[in-house]
């Protein structure tokens, strides 16, 4: 077995406080669940239920208008409680109230076709995503490879060794099922000292493990694809989150579809950041109400405004904002909670800035000892260990002026500045030449974070990819 070791040098681990403690609370009893069409890039949903309808676990709520085999299903037995629409009657959420949580039981699938059918039937198929474009995989496609990242380096991300404890066999079974679906390789990426990797051997021939070391975004699937087998124009790869691989593993070994996962609830505002076991799409209202601690966070002097919380499904770099009573996103296994930053900062750009975090060393905080720095074992006063992270942009939007910094946090063989500019001007040919098919918005999250000119780079990349996707579909 060939062992592939990859070292990522470019990147950044943002030192935010409030990582989840290794302890799981069972929250399978949550009443409300939602499936959100907005979680799925480019989806035109076709609604299949009405308010009040009874649905079973694995019962379809809506499907893809362009491919009715792709069904989006209820994670529980219950009743459709609400159908939430937004502007122009756009379907936002289908909310289901749980009666009981008996799982869906199918016949144990064996062949590739049976596995595919079982996944489409249960709704698990939607956990398979395609690159480029980040859409749900097309069942007719033959991907050149399937990628699974078994760790996450994003700020406050869950520890998969802990999350997948006791599920290692299902994880392996799931990977083997993916290998049957793919006519190419299944690449699984671990970080170098991950316990989970040991449970995999002996591996079947189509599984190839890789060991990726380095700062965020080393755990991002995009970084891993770029270093293992970059996507060329016209090629398609599929990706699946590790916890969905476990659900698949259970489906193929017992025939039971049990859409459960363990999520981390984390952030600097939270009382006891730790893990919760939930079903997919669960309402986080109860968790937020019990966890959020609004005091004790450094406020600005003279700032009397009550600070709101921002609840994010996903990580703080590329997650989606949801309300305090919202539902966790289909692809997320992290809820991050941050204080809002809607305050004015008097002369903020000229002050020394002891509590401000910057990748550049333009604030005094960059020169103060870090909490990990202990000369002769003495803990220095921890000036810089408690960063004041909130949602303030710390400045207004400006043209792209400081153009040399993206390269330092962008571990791709791509010129980020040039690609962003090509996306802004909408030059499709140039975007293709510069490697647009190899990236997703989340790959640019760190560029956006450190950007001096406060440009919304992820939005620019998403819009460019959507333009391209429509262009490709038309041809």
């Amino acid at each position: 077995m060939m062992v592939d070791k990859i070292t990522i040098k470019k990147g950044l681990d943002i030192p935010i406080a409030g990582a989840a403690e290794k302890r799981i609370t069972n929250a399978l009893g949550i009443k409300l669940y939602a499936v959100k069409p907005t979680d799925f890039v480019g989806l035109t949903p076709h609604l299949l239920v009405e308010e009040g309808d009874a649905v079973a676990t694995g019962g379809a709520l809506f499907c893809d208008k362009n491919d009715e085999r792709i069904r989006f299903t209820s994670p529980v037995n219950g009743q459709v409680k609400a159908i939430v629409r937004g502007e122009k009657r756009r379907l936002l959420e289908v909310v289901v109230e749980a009666k009981d949580s008996s799982p869906l039981v199918l016949e144990v699938p064996h062949t590739a076709d049976e596995i595919k059918a079982a996944m489409l039937r249960s709704g698990l198929w939607t956990a398979l995503r395609q690159r480029p474009f980040g859409v749900v995989a097309n069942p007719n496609d033959h991907p050149k490879a399937i990628f699974v990242s078994a760790f996450d380096t994003a700020p406050l991300a869950p520890d998969y060794d802990f999350v997948l404890q006791g599920k290692e066999d299902f994880f392996k079974k799931g990977l083997e099922a993916l290998a049957k679906l793919s006519n190419g390789e299944v690449h699984v990426c671990f970080h170098p000292d991950q316990e989970l990797a040991k449970h995999l051997s002996p591996l079947t021939s189509h599984l190839s493990p890789h060991y990726v070391k380095g700062p965020h975004p080393a755990g991002n699937i995009g970084t891993q694809i770029a270093h293992i087998d970059p996507i060329n124009k016209g090629e398609v790869v599929w990706t699946m989150n590790a916890q969905d691989v476990v659900v698949l593993g259970e489906l193929v070994s017992t025939g039971v579809y049990r859409p459960e996962k363990v999520i981390a609830v984390a952030g600097p505002l939270i009382k006891n950041p730790h893990y919760y076991r939930i079903k997919a799409g669960a309402s986080i209202a109860g968790i937020v109400a019990e966890q959020v601690l609004n005091t004790n966070y450094p406020k600005m002097e003279n700032d009397n405004a009550a600070r709101e919380n921002r609840v994010i499904s996903g990580n703080i770099l590329s997650g989606t904002q949801i309300s305090n009573e919202g539902f966790i996103g289909a692809y997320d296994d992290l809820v991050s909670i941050l204080p809002e930053g809607d305050y004015y900062d008097f002369m903020g750009w000229m002050m020394p800035g002891i509590k401000k975090y910057s990748y550049s060393r333009t604030f005094l905080s960059g020169f103060l000892p870090k909490s990990t720095f202990k000369p002769m074992g003495i803990q220095l006063p921890r000036f810089s260990s408690y960063w004041k992270f909130d949602t303030n942009t710390h400045g207004d939007e400006r043209p792209l002026v400081f153009t040399g910094s993206f390269e330092r946090v962008f571990p791709f063989d791509i010129y980020p500045t040039q690609l962003i500019k090509a996306c802004i001007i909408g030059d499709i040919e140039l975007m293709e030449q510069l490697g647009i098919y190899e990236v997703e918005p989340e790959d640019f999250a760190l560029c956006e974070f450190i950007d001096v000119s406060k440009t919304e780079i992820q939005r620019i990349i998403r819009e460019a990819l959507e333009t391209l996707r429509k262009e490709v579909a038309d041809v």
Partner: protein, 391 residues
Amino acid sequence: MFNNLRGFFDKLKPTFSEGGKLAWLGSTFEAFETFAFTPNRVTKQGCHVRDAVDLKRAMITVVIALIPAMLFGMWNIGYQHYIASPETVNCHFFWYCLWFGFLRMLPLLAVSYIVGLTIEFAFAQIRHHQVNEGFLVTGFLIPMIVPVTTPLWQLAIATAFAVIIGKEVFGGTGMNFLNPALVARAFLFFSYPTRMSGDSVWIAADLWGTDAITSATPLAELAAGLQPSASALDMFIGTIPGSTCETSVIAILLGAILLLISGIASWRIMLSVILGGGLMGLLFNAIGANAYMQLPFYYHYLMGGFLFGAVFMATDPVTAAQTNVGKWIYGLLIGIFAVMLRVINPAYPEGMMLSILLMNCFAPLIDHCVVAHNIKRRQKRAIVKSKNSAR
């Protein structure tokens, strides 16, 4: 104080916002408001947290890096004046020198900022854009790279030319392809050559006016076929005649350290300019056809604006090459051309300005070639792949 000021802005805001009486002055109001308060804007999508640095902070960091050179320049203006004038004894008094230089620099700085900012505000207002912070640095740089006796009206015209033709016609900061401060200097150099070079511009004769005490810079002496009269140590410390703030290597290095630690300027560009200059100097040493060519190569770092240009001008992120490989090429060529112009072309004793402006013009081409290489590699990868799968 904080609340009063905040209340003052909040009260005025509706007047200057859309629909208000003074809405046509919106950009100006916004500029003053964001000067006093970092806005309360929050992230909407994508990254929910942002780095604390913004363009204002980045620009003010460059200004801070320029301050050692500015202070030394002020002192040196006074020092040069007193050693050359009848009141020679005053040159031993630090505060006398600094005060004299401060009074000479103040009008230059004021003219540069007033003219430049007026135009910037006007353009921002016409375009309904926000006022960009770029001029914070440009306005500081322009007085630092001209002779102390430059007439204020000439400086005003040069600044206006640099801001309008060098920057605004291309769309403002971030869109220009020439370093605006160098455009101002080049404008002065070609429009009023007698006030920008020669022997009678470098030392102020008195506190006001444009009269000068005759004295030659080391570069002028070399161009005239002489050896520099100042020692290498004097040139390193900076107690020589020259443009106001470019003489002290020590002060410039202090600024360079801040720029490099803060990550604002590119170390690749600084290093490669210095390497390029050194290489060319060594090459001339090897040829050794005349006295100038035999000059030890490191003298080029000590004289004139070479180091100032390498640290503060060549590294301008807008006008420099933007790819990492491109930065090496860009910097090397700046160093090479600067020394080449100095030694071979006696019409331009100082080659740094022209060399940087020339490479500003070529930076997009360099980047284009570097990026084209990346594109070609990607295409090749796709072709190899499709051939393999065809088999």
